[in-house]
């Protein structure tokens, strides 16, 4: 298969003006990925599927990743202390792993990112391109809260319909049912204590 950089150029050649950037993977696996802009994602996906040299006809894996807002400190010689703190806004990411059954190559990793984690969470659905995205995008919607525009049947898939939260997000707080925790640690210990009357605590905190 062509390198990810070559594939990026191939997309740009056919879709001038599309936002496609390369996301390098610093890990040992070196599976680099393409970040598609939401506006042209559907056309780019069609191209990846139908291009004679690529023919990525098999979308194996679709998943979400939550990247909450975080603070990074960067070197800045002008600032006092030589460092400046900057807030990186959070976003939700959807990752697709594409293979080609016809040509036997892959994977190509494709990602899309939402603008933020609260109100601008719509991304185009790739279910019209690859049918296998149907349930997996529903799962990403359910657990991460990404809304897929153009999905034929976007409902919760794993949790019940009345459920309000998106439990795979990093800031999700699970419901409090720690009434009986005989072997608690850390966070669970704290939450279990709240269920015990003050004098009869389960135990004192074990030494770290």
């Amino acid at each position: 298969m062509e390198t990810t950089e070559q594939i990026r150029e191939r997309i740009l050649a056919s879709l001038p003006g599309a936002q496609v950037s390369l996301v390098t993977n610093p890990g040992l696996a070196a599976q680099h990925s393409l970040l598609l802009g939401a506006a042209h994602a559907l056309q780019a996906a069609l191209l990846l599927r139908d291009d004679a040299a690529l023919r990525l006809d098999f979308c194996s894996n679709v998943t979400g990743v939550d990247w909450p807002e975080r603070e990074v400190s960067e070197a800045d010689p002008t600032a006092p202390g030589g460092k400046v703190k900057r807030v990186v806004p959070g976003f939700l990411e959807v990752v697709y792993h594409l293979y080609s059954v016809a040509l036997g190559h892959g994977p190509l990793v494709v990602r899309m990112r939402t603008a933020n984690r609260s109100d601008q969470v719509t991304l185009p659905s790739l279910t019209p391109v690859w049918r296998s995205c149907e349930f997996q995008e529903r799962e990403v919607f359910d657990l991460f809260g990404v809304v897929f525009a153009g999905h034929p049947d976007l409902r919760r898939i794993l949790m019940w319909d009345e459920f309000k939260d998106h439990p795979m997000r990093k800031d999700y707080v699970e419901p409090d049912d720690f009434e009986w925790e005989p072997t608690p640690h850390g966070d669970v210990l704290e939450r279990a204590r709240r269920h015990y009357p003050a004098p009869a605590r389960p135990a004192k905190e074990p030494a770290p």
Partner: protein, 207 residues
């Protein structure tokens, strides 16, 4: 459950055992009923997760649950005596389990098979996992293990049979359990406090 106070038996257990040794069988309606019930416990064909495979294995040739009179796995709760909760009960599944329990005719028994059914087990940290089916349904026997060997389930069944043989006849209190409902963040209610009251755990140094 209000049980009538047992009247003093006309024949004591020791006398009865002595008679039995001489080949004389004395029985009461109660004993006969319990004997019959304990040897024809029909489980519900109800698999939830991993433990269900071991439950099926227990009903197959190697372990042969038929030797205990319990091979008749009924697909309908109306025909079953025993609910084997074999696997993780999720919060999404819990209302169905309670409803199935309510549909079973009296007398009925429940075995919580495996760590998940008892306490949520390894998955108890999960947001969608019920920490033990005994929060909603009265459980007679807990069979720990992950999953318990089929023999362990048979051992649980033997224990249940012992328990049934110690039962007194009488009108059992109707045990309709309230069915929890799906709510925005969790089940509503999250437990049935009439059934499930965990003790306060007090640890003493060197306990």
């Amino acid at each position: 459950m209000s049980e009538p106070a047992p009247a003093a038996p006309a024949v004591t257990d020791a006398e009865r055992a002595e008679l039995r040794r001489h080949g004389m069988l004395l029985t009461s309606i109660e004993e006969l009923c319990d004997w019959g019930r304990s040897h024809s416990v029909w489980p519900l064909q109800f698999g939830l997760a991993c433990c269900a495979i071991e439950m099926i294995a227990a009903s197959m040739a190697r372990f042969d649950i038929a030797r205990f009179g319990s091979e008749v796995f009924r697909p309908s709760p109306r025909q079953a005596d025993l609910l084997i909760v074999s696997g993780t009960v999720t919060k999404k599944m819990a209302p169905m389990v309670v409803r199935i329990w309510n549909q079973m005719p009296e007398p009925k028994y429940c075995i919580a098979m495996g760590a998940c059914a008892i306490s949520g087990g390894p998955f108890k940290q999960g947001y969608n996992v019920l920490k033990g089916i005994d929060r909603f349904v009265p459980v007679d026997i807990y069979v720990p293990g992950c999953p318990p060997r089929p023999e362990a389930l048979l051992h649980g069944l033997i224990k249940l049979q012992e328990k049934i043989r110690g039962q007194r006849l009488g009108t059992p209190a109707p045990s309709e359990c309230p069915v929890p409902e799906y709510a925005a963040h969790d089940l509503d209610p999250t437990k049935n406090p009439q059934l499930w009251q965990p003790p306060v755990l007090v640890r003493k140094e060197g306990a």
